[in-house]
Amino acid sequence: MSLQVLTVLVVGATFVLYIYIAIRSKAKDTSDFYVASKGVHPVLNGMATGADWMSAASFISMAGLIAFLGYDGAVYLMGWTGGYCLLAMLLAPYLRKFGKFTVSEFIGERYYSNFARMVAVACLITASVTYVIGQMKGIGVVFSRSLGVSFEVGIVIGMIIVFIYAVFGGMKGVTNTQIAQYCVLIFAYTVPAIFIALQLTGMPIPQLGLGSTMSDGSGVYLLDKLDGILTELGFAAYTAQKMSTINVLFLTMSLMIGTAGLPHVIMRFFTVPSVKDARASAGWALVFIAILYTTAPAVGAMARMNLMQTIQHGPVGSIDGNIEYAKVPAWFKSWEKTGLLKFEDKNGDGRIQYYDEKGLKTAESFGWKGNEMIKVDRDIMVLANPEIAGLPNWVVALVTAGGIAAALSTAAGLLLAIATAISHDVLKGWLMPDIDDQQELKFSRIAIGGAILVAGYLGLNPPGFAAQVVALAFGLAASSIFPAIMMGIFSKRVNDKGAIAGMIAGLGSTLIYIFVFKGWFFFKSTAMLPDNADNWLFGLNPQSFGTVGAIINFIVAYVVSFATEPPPQRIQDLIEDIRVPIASK
């Protein structure tokens, strides 16, 4: 059976599964639609949260990013997991006790202000829409590379699938399919990783394999060997730090508080039965996420090792140390066709030289005329892994299904967050307060359908800034939503004026900092300063600025609150109430 047919069968089978689950979980009322009637078991909610959280980027791009960043990749590993500690201890249990449907609803009631609620809605929708474009693109990319259909057809198929289960089932349908999608994606991620770890180190557990010796009998540790290979070719050592320490610190922190502030993640904790379950569920979510996130560094390092050793199989500088282009393995040729790998024989010797031109001073004396691997797309690292390791075709097909599962589950969670904000916060909460539950349910279905169309349209016609927007989503969540919720729980003194001023100051400063370097609204020509370390404030790159935005938010909120009157008694009582799991007698 050809790989293509096999892939269609495997991916098709997962789609049948998702739709079957969706048909079985139709939402009856708004409580079903928004929070799955608060009846999701904490372990299952943890699994659903894992799928919700781990996007196309986590599945496809992260290991490749780490492969080329080495140690610095830790900012993503720690940043995208450490946020769950904040969520578990500072937000989730209290929001669950509050017991309503949306994040913005909490902000609106706690700060007794519809304006605060709408500011939160605006942040939420901007963050979620920017994020969902990336997922749509991810679906299109995986489809077009693996199934031989066009990018556009891939996005449309993805839209139809999400439409079926999100519109009918709401949170209930999304939760149940996310649980299935988690199983598909984690299986697809770990199977190739186990095989590659076995091949390179003889150790089947990738997390331990990364710290083991090579199985080639040399007794050298894998990471030491990789450091050696890379430095010999002029690259930075794998385990060395390249980014400045202040950026590593601030970027990690931005990603952590951004994670904790992303509404589609927070709202998953509204679905469990109790406060106790919300605490435990955050732990389970992180268990399921960490299975992938602790495997990723092993996949990254091992993929880099395989790539380097394939090309430079002998001593650096020796005549036959590099692979002949005529003898490259099949995966090399097939990825060359996609344009993600590009080779140019600069010195005409028929062999491939892959090295860092700035780092390797002696290159010319070998007769090398520049690095000949002119493009190595990072996404290849995960997608080509099974082929590089020589694994059977069903594993390759599985990786495709896993990538699609990761993108679909995150897209569904985001779309639900957007639709909920529109139907529950904007319509029911503000414009049409008199609609009944069934009408609201109808509007929420229309809203999610509309959100899917908008996301699909933006996926098909991606604005030029698509690559930049993830930084924006995290910056927004970190600088506006997280501080507002946290102060709402932990301070009785912060009032409506303080919270609104804080959100606007935090959000405004972060947006301005990003726009100054990336261009206003990401139009490159309007950038006011070149985006490099000389111009950055305190050497902070725009991605890392969310932390500063959050600090500004906290300071402004406290200063304004203390200069004005404290919140009314009923709000003080509300805060007392959410701090304790059961109501006071």
Partner: protein, 85 residues
């Protein structure tokens, strides 16, 4: 539950959260970033210790920390008679 013990419950919660946040900060920002160079002199199998904290250890500790917090809060809820049915 009387008003005083609600305040005491919250005070104990804050104490526990503070402890957890200190550990959270030390293992990730401390061991994984600020102290990564000195710690890299120590080896844990084939891992340099600072690198291990940054790419493996901090995540394991995050997981353990949430369950520790969740467990302790469960006990605190019982002690103050505020656990849910």
């Amino acid at each position: 539950m009387v008003e005083k013990s609600r305040e005491e419950y919250w005070r104990r919660n804050i104490k526990l959260v503070t402890l957890c946040m200190i550990i959270w900060f030390v293992v990730s920002f401390g061991f994984g970033i600020i102290l990564v160079h000195p710690l890299n002199a120590i080896h844990l199998g084939g891992y340099k210790l600072g690198f291990w904290f940054a790419q493996q250890g901090s995540m394991y500790i995050f997981v353990a920390l949430i369950f520790f917090y969740s467990n302790r809060m469960g006990k605190l809820d019982k002690e103050f008679g505020v656990e849910e049915e």
